[in-house]
């Protein structure tokens, strides 16, 4: 296995799925004014900064050895060359030439080693820490070469490395500053208000198509929409409710783009406890809810109904909506077979923010029709994490899962939902240790079919990823995988 893609090719692939044709007279000096609801809590993605930091910094301020493109493909960025030994346990990376950090320090292999070790360090809060667990050691034979040795094969290593920012090893604390290699430098951060980025003069790659961006943060979706309406913003990264879209339906002023997000609205059961340890009960509840109607109620004609936890941008996606299609009669029959002819009662821990409360009401009404009673228990996001995720003290819960390629959570019996199927655990572990992408995809597809057949959770719908921009702004990513929002291709015409 050996590949040396041309940088131009990689960039071409990166930009291909971006929206809109380039307009004639673009303004390379433009500062793009962006509105977002996700303010980072700090600036370090290993220090609990939240999803907002991926949006602001991934591939903008920090680059990684690889990048997860907007179409789901993984391409090399700071890695000019990547070779894998015959046994798959030794990965050798050669770094791009001429890369400097924003502070002026040149990029060396030591920086890469330091950056990976930051994610693996004891205090690291990175959600990707466990996926890098196969790493046994990192060697730097010279300034341009990094050798990673593994305990076991890891086909997803390049993908997982796309989450590892390459940070200057001289930078000690990056919770309020930065030192990356990306096309933008941090120009200012006013907490509670905005982050401003400006183009980095010493950038090693192709120059961005704008001279910077200001990302303003909002807590109220209505205020965000108003800012775009009054031309105080050029674009908003996510529209939260379809009702808001009506105000932007003038094509001479605005462009609405709809992409595939990775945000999945699901009802997770605690599969360890009765009655949810019973596959028939879970299948009955899957068949008892009209997901198309739920999606319609929340998102109108946008978004898509899910038949499993896997969205279309994961390579192992397939349409499994037919496995437990809406069928209240067979739901009742399954409940009777499972020993619950008169239904049962359970408590649904429901986060207090949209769209969970309205989803909970819908489910309550739907399940009442098959004799199941739902007690809705409203909790805060913080309580969800401590009560449900950490203490696993729940019967069923609603949650939006935002991660990309996260079906692997079903391979971990200790995960909060406690799904435990030996075949699935084995398949997901094996999938990581195969030699080719094809085998990887095939194994995960097989695992996902079992997970869907057993209705491990109740997967409702995939959020649409809706970006609205002023009509003179083009070139932004439409899918926003992993909450990323690449700025370098955004053009604003005069």
């Amino acid at each position: 296995m050996h590949f040396v893609p041309k940088l131009a090719l990689a960039l071409g692939a990166a930009l291909a799925p971006f929206a809109g044709p380039a307009l004639a007279e673009t303004d390379p000096s433009a500062i793009i004014r962006i509105g977002s609801l996700y303010e980072p809590q700090n600036l370090d993605n290993t220090a609990g900064a939240g999803q907002g930091i991926n949006e602001a910094f991934n591939d903008n301020v920090y680059e990684a050895l690889f990048r997860l493109n907007d179409d789901g493909s993984v391409v090399p960025v700071l890695a000019a060359d990547h070779t894998v030994s015959e046994d798959g346990l030794t990965h050798t990376f050669t770094l791009q030439d001429g890369v400097t950090f924003h502070s002026g320090d040149p990029l060396t292999a030591a920086d890469v080693k330091y950056s990976i070790e930051r994610v693996l360090a004891e205090g690291s809060k990175s959600s990707r820490k466990s996926s890098l667990a196969p790493i046994a050691g990192i060697e730097t034979p010279d300034d341009k070469t990094v050798v990673i040795t593994l305990k076991s094969r890891s086909i997803s290593l390049p993908y997982n490395l796309s989450y590892v920012w390459i940070v200057n090893d001289a930078a000690t604390d990056i919770t309020a500053t930065e030192d990356g290699t990306g096309p933008y430098v941090l120009d200012g951060w006013k907490r509670g208000s905005a982050i401003s980025l400006k183009a980095f003069d010493g950038y090693w790659g192709e120059k961005p198509k704008n001279s910077g961006a200001t990302i303003s943060y909002f807590t109220e979706a209505a205020a965000l929409d108003n800012a775009l309406l009054t031309d105080a913003l050029d674009l908003v990264t996510t529209i939260q409710s379809p009702d808001a879209l009506a105000q932007f339906e003038d094509p001479s002023r605005f462009t609405i783009s709809e992409g595939n997000s990775t945000v999945k609205e699901i009802m997770a059961y605690n599969d360890r406890v009765a009655p949810f340890d019973n596959v028939q009960v879970r299948k009955a509840l899957a068949r008892g809810i009209d997901k198309a109607k739920l999606l319609e109620a929340i998102w109108g004609d946008r978004g898509m109904v899910l038949g499993s936890f896997v969205p279309p941008t994961d390579p192992w996606y397939e349409d499994l909506t037919g496995v437990d299609a809406y069928d209240p009669e067979s739901a009742k029959a399954l409940l009777a077979e499972a020993g619950y002819p008169d239904g049962f009662t359970f408590t649904l821990d429901t986060p207090n923010y949209d769209p969970h409360p309205i989803t909970a009401e819908f489910i309550k009404a739907e399940l009442a029709k098959i004799g199941v009673t739902v007690n809705i228990n409203i909790i805060t996001a913080n309580e969800w994490y401590t009560k449900v995720y950490q203490a696993k003290d729940f019967q069923a819960t609603l949650q939006e899962h935002v991660n990309h390629r996260d079906v692997v959570f079903y391979g971990n019996p200790d995960f909060y939902w406690g799904y435990n199927n030996a075949d699935v655990t084995r398949l997901i572990a094996e999938a990581e240790e195969v030699a080719t992408e094809e085998e990887h995809t095939a194994k995960l597809r097989e695992a996902n079919r079992i997970i869907a057949e057993e209705a491990a959770s109740n997967w409702f719908f995939l959020y649409p990823q809706i970006v609205v921009s002023a009509a003179n702004v083009t070139g932004y990513p439409v899918n926003g995988l992993n909450s990323q929002f690449f700025l370098r291709g955004i053009e604003k015409s005069k």
Partner: protein, 319 residues
């Protein structure tokens, strides 16, 4: 006066300590864990344990209390659990928005309420006196966020006169932009505040109008207007000043709602976010500083009252 000041200072310090203790207990009674704000789905047991150790939520409450009190004694409000930045500079930075917002709203409300309140009282029998009372009643009934939303729609979206929300990223570097950002929030607060203030001014004036000394002044040949200005305002001001103190203090804390409607990065939005994230140092810091300000405002109102009314300075006077 010296003994009075000393006594007030001691009361102030004791109030602050009491407020700190109440805050500490109330925050820990909330379900949840500050460590959760640092973690996301995918974190494993070891990461959760490490995060709890970092914020200290793995320690017994009395250990946390000891740490809190010893920090407080050194005037150290600590570092935010989530941003890892010291809390005090952040509060001071946010005060550059919340203080001008509060004071400007207060002044505007004062300028609206005092003349209109006096007119409403003196001309209570005329149609416009009644109208002022009725409109102020309406102003009290309407929620502040509704007025904010209405103003945004009208002034920012329909007329495009002022920004709908936000504050310049470089703060007051461009004073014109900063002032423009604050105009609508100030008007929003002032409308609601002046409505309730007006009613106090009106009833204080009505009391004064019925007072014996005013009748005597008129009997000595002064006009109604002169008598009111010479004798009435001073007497009427005493109860109004204490209400002003309370109003100013509640506006400072009530800015939470208005800051949210207008996306202003002030103290209120810091408090709200801090509570959501169980970021104890941020919440404690904001509330302690605002408690301090409320106590100082009360203190100032008290001093002003004593300056106006000699009976308060010396209980023997005026008898």
């Amino acid at each position: 006066m010296g003994r009075y000041l000393l006594r007030r200072t001691v009361v102030l310090a004791l109030s602050l300590i009491a407020a700190g203790l109440v805050l500490f207990v109330l925050l820990r009674l909330l379900p949840g864990d500050p460590a959760a704000a640092l973690l996301s789905v995918g974190a494993d047991e070891a990461q959760i344990a490490a995060a709890r150790a970092q914020v200290g939520s793995d320690q017994p409450v009395w250990v946390q209390l000891g740490r809190f009190l010893s920090d407080l004694a050194r005037f150290d409000l600590g570092n935010s659990f989530v941003s890892n930045q010291p809390v005090l500079p952040e509060i001071l930075a946010r005060l550059t928005i919340t203080l001008p917002l509060t004071l400007a709203s207060f002044l505007l409300a004062f300028c609206i309420a005092v003349p209109l309140g006096i007119v409403a009282a003196v001309r209570a029998d005329r149609w416009y006196g009644a109208l002022i009372s009725a409109v102020s009643q309406l102003g009290i009934a309407v929620p502040v966020f509704w007025i904010g939303i209405l103003l945004v729609w009208l002034v920012a979206i329909e007329w495009r006169l002022l920004p709908a929300s936000g504050f310049p990223i470089d703060g007051w570097a461009d004073p014109r932009a900063a002032v423009r950002a604050l105009i609508l929030p100030v008007i929003t607060i002032a409308i609601v505040m002046s409505a309730s203030l007006l009613r106090y001014v009106r009833s204080a004036t009505l009391d004064v109008l019925g007072a014996d000394y005013l009748r005597n002044a008129r009997a000595l040949g002064e006009t109604q207007g002169r008598a009111l200005i010479r004798h009435g305002i001073r007497n009427g001001a005493v109860p109004v000043v204490s209400i002003l103190g309370i109003e100013l203090a509640s506006t400072l804390l009530g800015a939470v709602v208005v800051e949210r409607v207008f996306t202003l990065p002030g103290l209120g939005s810091m408090l709200l976010l801090g509570i959501q994230q169980r970021d104890y140092p941020s919440v404690q810091g904001v509330l302690l500083i605002s408690t301090l300000m409320v106590l100082l405002i009360g203190f100032a109102a008290d001093v002003v009252q004593r300056l106006i009314d000699p009976r308060l300075r010396d209980p023997g006077a005026g008898r």
